[in-house]
């Protein structure tokens, strides 16, 4: 594990390794409870508070990125993947990464306002939900 900026990210524990491995294998940003549910396969005693603590520290260090999509909890994804957007399934509420941002996004904003970043969320139905009746498990 390497920190880019020599930022304090604390000790290398089983819990942290489990959390990072879940996120490394995910195909989109995950919520804290999703992360906890999956990481418990490796560390069954893992508490949700520990997940929140790691997510906060690792996000501050730049190793993870916080993604806020409409509707639910904040989600977390690997921090060094290039700029892109997300697809949020209205039915199962899972989020998926889209391909990178292709077009210049220029929105008129009032004079004097400073745009520092933007978030694009596409909302609809994912392929699995389109074909299935039951709500699939996250992951």
């Amino acid at each position: 594990m390497h920190t880019r900026k020599s930022v304090r990210i604390g000790r290398d524990t089983r819990q942290r390794r489990a959390i990072l491995e879940v996120l490394r294998k995910a195909n989109g940003p995950l919520t804290p409870s999703e992360i906890c549910r999956w990481a418990r396969r490796r560390v069954p005693s893992l508490g949700i508070a520990t997940v929140y603590r790691h997510l906060r520290v690792l996000t501050a260090a730049g190793l993870l990125r916080r993604v806020e999509l409409p509707g639910g909890s904040a989600r977390f994804e690997w921090g060094d993947i290039p700029h892109h957007h997300h697809f949020l399934c209205r039915r199962c509420t899972r989020a998926f990464c889209t391909s990178s941002c292709r077009r210049r996004l220029i929105e008129a904003v009032p004079r004097g306002f400073k745009v520092e970043s933007h978030e694009v969320t596409l909302i609809g139905i994912c392929r699995q939900c389109f074909h299935r009746r039951k709500q699939p498990r996250p992951g």
Copy 2:
């Protein structure tokens, strides 16, 4: 007050009038607590639960629209204004309407996924926060 679809929206009370008037005068979508705070100028006894109940009914009836922006509570705005996006001030967390969506927004999504709607949020600093030191009141 006219309902478009003859949908049940319930009685015309002081509380409802106060909530709708706050939203009619707002320059952007407001959170339930912002709406409650402002509507209490007209109806001091107004409870937050009543605000939530009206917002749910009026949104279901199409009179209001629910706007989910990154970071906080859902926000509500008048339902019949044309398609547009929002500017969210990172500092005071107030949301403002931008001018309408000028460009076609085409994002590549995985095959089989159905895009039904999208949300664009621009994040940055609003003019007041850029010039002021203190967090301004919502509204």
